[in-house]
């Protein structure tokens, strides 16, 4: 059997079972909804930005283990970052889950999602939260979808 543990690492399973920052953020000044029609995953990302820096971030929603864990890990990772830094991080994250020769450095704990690369059908699950975050930061008030 293909080693599924490369995809579903303990950290991912833990973040799926006990997602961090999984709540509504009443003080949020940016909100966006993300939807992956392929699997029915739906997320809302809440962000509070202060002086160009992500002061707080949270998410709500339902989805597969990969999308929930990715959202949870993302919220842990981006607090204190500027929108520009978040963009760069997303670019590197996307490269990690899609490119044959990715640049993983600087992704820290997010690297547990590298196994997604072997499952092209799951890339959208891993990037849904990031797309939604990006839309929140650029203050587009529409629902983003991964299609």
């Amino acid at each position: 059997m293909f080693d599924l543990r490369a995809l579903y690492q303990e950290v991912i399973i833990d973040h799926n079972r006990h997602p961090r920052n999984c709540r509504r953020l009443d003080s949020a000044d940016r909100i966006a909804e993300g939807y992956n029609p392929l699997c029915g995953d739906r997320l809302t990302v809440y962000v509070k930005v202060h002086e160009g820096v992500v002061e707080d971030v949270s998410f709500e929603g339902s989805g597969c283990a990969i999308s929930v864990a990715s959202a949870s890990l993302m919220t842990e990772h981006i607090k204190g970052k500027t929108a520009h830094e978040v963009d760069q991080l997303f670019a590197r994250f996307r490269s990690m889950v899609t490119d044959a020769t990715p640049t993983e450095e600087g992704l820290g704990k997010l690297e547990v999602l590298a196994g997604v690369r072997e499952f092209p059908a799951r890339v959208k699950c891993a990037t849904l939260a990031w797309h939604t975050l990006k839309s929140a930061l650029s203050n587009e008030h529409s629902t983003v979808t991964t299609e």
Partner: protein
């Protein structure tokens, strides 16, 4: 390759089964491995695998008589035309249509329904007219009608269903009103497996003067269809769900209705004569077959029909029914399992969710063991909404599946529960 054995407990050994098990060998793809394991293909509602007879009929056409049809006087063109038209007659016999000109070759179910919506519906619908569908339709039997409603001001209504996934026939009768102009419903639900009582429903519709389109995409691989006995006005299906190639499908329509309808697309083959000011349309079925069709596809479909008829729907139906019951019992016995779609009359589809595990994760875990199922909304988002789930996992069976494969499915589901639950 090891063919999963039939000596599984709780399945009684009807004598047709060894004969069907031998049929596995007709499908070359079933010999392959996926991620190091023999493929267990349980996504037949999405598309079925193709027997050697179909693959070869298509290759033979390309090898022996590839050419365009209805056009050339040369030998190849005549041979190709003959094989293409032979396929039409095979379809006619398969669904028991009165005439071969009632068989229109299209790309698939989706195109067939769009054709009826635009050619039959659009010219005659008025604002506030009603089109009736059901709550369990595939998007391809919803969206064409929504587009038509936008174009004409007609209103779309849907027959609701109960928690088992059965249509509420009282509601259906209530919804059939003086403004209803069309009933379009699925024969078998792709998301739930429900077999609808279409015969009875067609009779009711006709009593109100309402014509009926039946979406047969999920029915034709599992049960015999007799369009004259049903008395449906249109019947649509796709070849690829019936062991034939993709890119070809069938719209059956009653002669009188088809004759009264304007063409769907304009082009070559669908005309008798063209001047720059006026065109005289061709006779049925060519009026609806503009352009060069999928010739090899039609021939492949013909071979697929020969193939299933040679086996017969009696053994196929019995086998699939027992397999569905066996697999359903096994899945239902898993901790936290909920089967979505528990109609009394079901065909071949086992939709389910497992507590705490998203179907998409199940799909990946199963794929790693070489088991192909479908996860998601199955192009039936209103059905998901009705059952309050974002998605389901769906195993769907065909004549070549075995109880041993259902066992592998359940073992893999237990692995997923251990890992992710």
């Amino acid at each position: 390759m090891s063919v999963p054995s039939y000596s599984i407990t709780a399945v009684n050994d009807a004598d047709h089964r060894p004969e069907l098990a031998a049929r596995r060998q007709d499908f070359p793809i079933l010999e392959r491995c996926v991620r190091g394991q023999p493929l267990v293909y349980l996504d037949n509602a999405a598309t079925t695998q193709k027997p050697r007879a179909v693959i070869e009929a298509m290759a033979r056409y390309y090898r022996e008589c590839n050419s365009n049809i209805h056009r050339g006087v040369h030998t190849l063109s005549q041979e190709a035309t003959e094989r293409f038209e032979e396929a039409r007659v095979k379809v006619q016999r398969f669904i028991h249509a009165a005439h071969s000109h009632e068989i229109i070759f299209v790309r698939g179910t989706t195109e067939a329904i769009n054709l009826v919506a635009q050619s039959y519906g659009r010219p005659q619908l008025k604002p506030k007219d009603e089109i009736l569908i059901t709550a369990m339709e595939h998007h391809s039997n919803i969206v064409p009608w929504q587009l038509l409603c936008e174009q004409t001001g007609a209103v779309l209504k849907a027959v609701p269903m109960n928690d088992a996934g059965e249509l509420l026939l009282d509601e259906y009768v209530r919804l059939l009103g003086s403004r209803t102009r069309m009933l379009a419903l699925t024969h078998v639900s792709n998301a739930l497996g429900t077999i609808n009582p279409i015969g009875e429903m067609i009779d009711h519709a006709h009593a109100h003067g309402v014509p009926v389109l039946v979406d047969g995409a999920q029915a034709v691989a599992h049960m015999p269809v007799d369009v004259q006995a049903l008395d449906c006005d249109f019947y649509a299906f796709s070849s690829h769900k019936l062991f034939g190639p993709t890119g070809i499908g069938v719209l059956y329509g009653k002669t009188a209705l088809l004759e009264a309808m304007p063409p769907y697309q304009g082009g070559g083959d669908m005309i008798k004569s063209v001047t720059l000011t006026k065109t005289q349309f061709n006779d049925l079925p060519y009026k609806f077959e503009a352009g060069t069709p999928h010739i090899a596809g039609a021939i492949g479909l013909g071979a697929a029909l020969d193939y299933v008829q040679e086996i017969g729907f009696e053994p196929i139906g019995r086998h699939e029914h027992e397999l569905l019951r066996y697999a359903s019992d096994r899945v239902a016995s898993l901790h936290g399992a909920r089967i979505i779609g528990t109609a009394r009359e079901k065909a071949s589809v086992l939709s389910f969710v497992l507590d705490g595990i998203h179907p998409h994760d199940l799909g990946t875990v199963l794929d790693c063991q070489g088991i192909a199922i479908r996860t998601g909304h199955h192009c039936a988002m209103p059905v998901m909404e009705r059952f309050h789930v974002p998605a389901t996992a769906r195993a769907s069976f065909a004549l070549y599946n075995t109880p041993g494969e259902a066992d592998r499915l359940c073992a893999a589901l237990r692995d997923a529960q251990r890992m992710l639950g």
